[in-house]
Symmetry: C7
Subunit: 94 residues, 7 copies
Amino acid sequence: MKLVPLGDRVVLKQTEKEETTKSGIILAAKAQEKPVTAEVIAVGPGGMVDGKEVTMQVKVGDQVIYSKYAGNEVKLDEEEYVIVKQSDILAIVE
Amino acid sequence: MKLVPLGDRVVLKQTEKEETTKSGIILAAKAQEKPVTAEVIAVGPGGMVDGKEVTMQVKVGDQVIYSKYAGNEVKLDEEEYVIVKQSDILAIVE
Amino acid sequence: MKLVPLGDRVVLKQTEKEETTKSGIILAAKAQEKPVTAEVIAVGPGGMVDGKEVTMQVKVGDQVIYSKYAGNEVKLDEEEYVIVKQSDILAIVE
Amino acid sequence: MKLVPLGDRVVLKQTEKEETTKSGIILAAKAQEKPVTAEVIAVGPGGMVDGKEVTMQVKVGDQVIYSKYAGNEVKLDEEEYVIVKQSDILAIVE
Amino acid sequence: MKLVPLGDRVVLKQTEKEETTKSGIILAAKAQEKPVTAEVIAVGPGGMVDGKEVTMQVKVGDQVIYSKYAGNEVKLDEEEYVIVKQSDILAIVE
Amino acid sequence: MKLVPLGDRVVLKQTEKEETTKSGIILAAKAQEKPVTAEVIAVGPGGMVDGKEVTMQVKVGDQVIYSKYAGNEVKLDEEEYVIVKQSDILAIVE
Amino acid sequence: MKLVPLGDRVVLKQTEKEETTKSGIILAAKAQEKPVTAEVIAVGPGGMVDGKEVTMQVKVGDQVIYSKYAGNEVKLDEEEYVIVKQSDILAIVE
């Protein structure tokens, strides 16, 4: 099974990594108040979305940073994904 | 009796499935904080909706994931449906 | 006396029906947390509404389901009506 | 003195009428949770309003029902009026 | 010194008048929950405002009624003015 | 160092003046609930801003009144400025 | 690794500087209630963003002042950045 996003949506898989706080506590990336890095898994076709022409600028395999308050978490075949609109992707990490 | 959605609306029938939490409790899909899978039952004609041209991209029989806060629950002939706008559908599951 | 709706508005007459809950209590349709069925009584002319061209898609006599949080209740000659915008009508029931 | 409304505004004079509740209490129309009937006293010229072309569809003397949360109450020469935008008028009563 | 309003703004000078309540208390017009009458002191040039073409419809000397929650109070040379957008003016009083 | 505003932004320098309340307390202009006067220090180029064509109507040296809730305070070389959008400027004082 | 912003986004690196308050306490720039200065690190391509044509007006190396409530903080290779939309940049400091 795979996810085929509609419109300007992008399926992301969060790149999990642990990080140590200054006081020594280990926090999972999810618990932090920062945008997180993710890999692009699938990209919608773009086109006319909400009355506006959208050209997709990310591609499968890109590492991206997205706004952490954006998107919907989806679970498929025991894997967790996040589906965001392309406009919620802040930057590509090269 | 059948539902004929207007504009960019789509009639969905939620795919019910139970799921076991890590602590062993069985939760119905509805109680979870995640988008849920549903089958497309009927698709509106699209066209000019709220001043914007909308082309319908899903078709009857598609399995889709939609934003759980979207849509209106409708009960017809003892069956429960959810009517969403196509823009609330995140992805097709293939 | 009759109601002649303006713009994209539609006059509905709710189809009252009682329904029994699982615990045996009878609830009037109004008390339920669901969209309700109504009959279309009068249809506005459509045209340019709030700067957008609207074509009316429902007609007098249609049974429709509308979003329960939408519309204004109106009482005329001891009859109660609901006036909604066409965009608050989710689907026609055939 | 008279009121000459600007743009898409309409001056209404509420049709006062008392109504008896089921428990026998008499309520003035204003105290009820329903849209109220009013007579059209003056109609703005319409035209370009907030960047959108508006054609006036009501005329002086029309009995109309308007959304009770809309409009501004105005007192002139001891008479009370309500000034609404035409889009807050739900229907003409014929 | 004089105020030259920009865009679709209009400088008003409130017409102060006292009014007696039914219980005999005298209220200044400002304390009332009603739109108040004002005289137009200066009118902006109109033109393209927030991406929309605005034609000014009031002129200096007009008595107008405006929405009491609109506008900014300004004090210049010990005189108090209110600066509103033309769209906050409900009607001209003739 | 100088500030070069982008788009439809305008750099203002507030005209500080003290004012005595009726009870004799001296209030700095900042503490008052009124729009304040300021001098225009720099003017952005205007042009296409947020999809709308904006023509700049104020010029360096103008005394203006602006909405006190608008703008961002900026400190540069020990001087305080306010950067507002031109649409937050209510009027020019001549 | 580097950040390649999408659309009208700009990657900034805050110019850290300490500042002494009147009472002698040293505050890091972040704790202050003012827009802060930052250097432009990377600039998105602009183009059609949310249905509006955007031309980028800042370039790498510019010192800018941006609205402190705007943007997303991003950490990459132990460096902290802020990603803002160009419209959140108030002015260039020359």
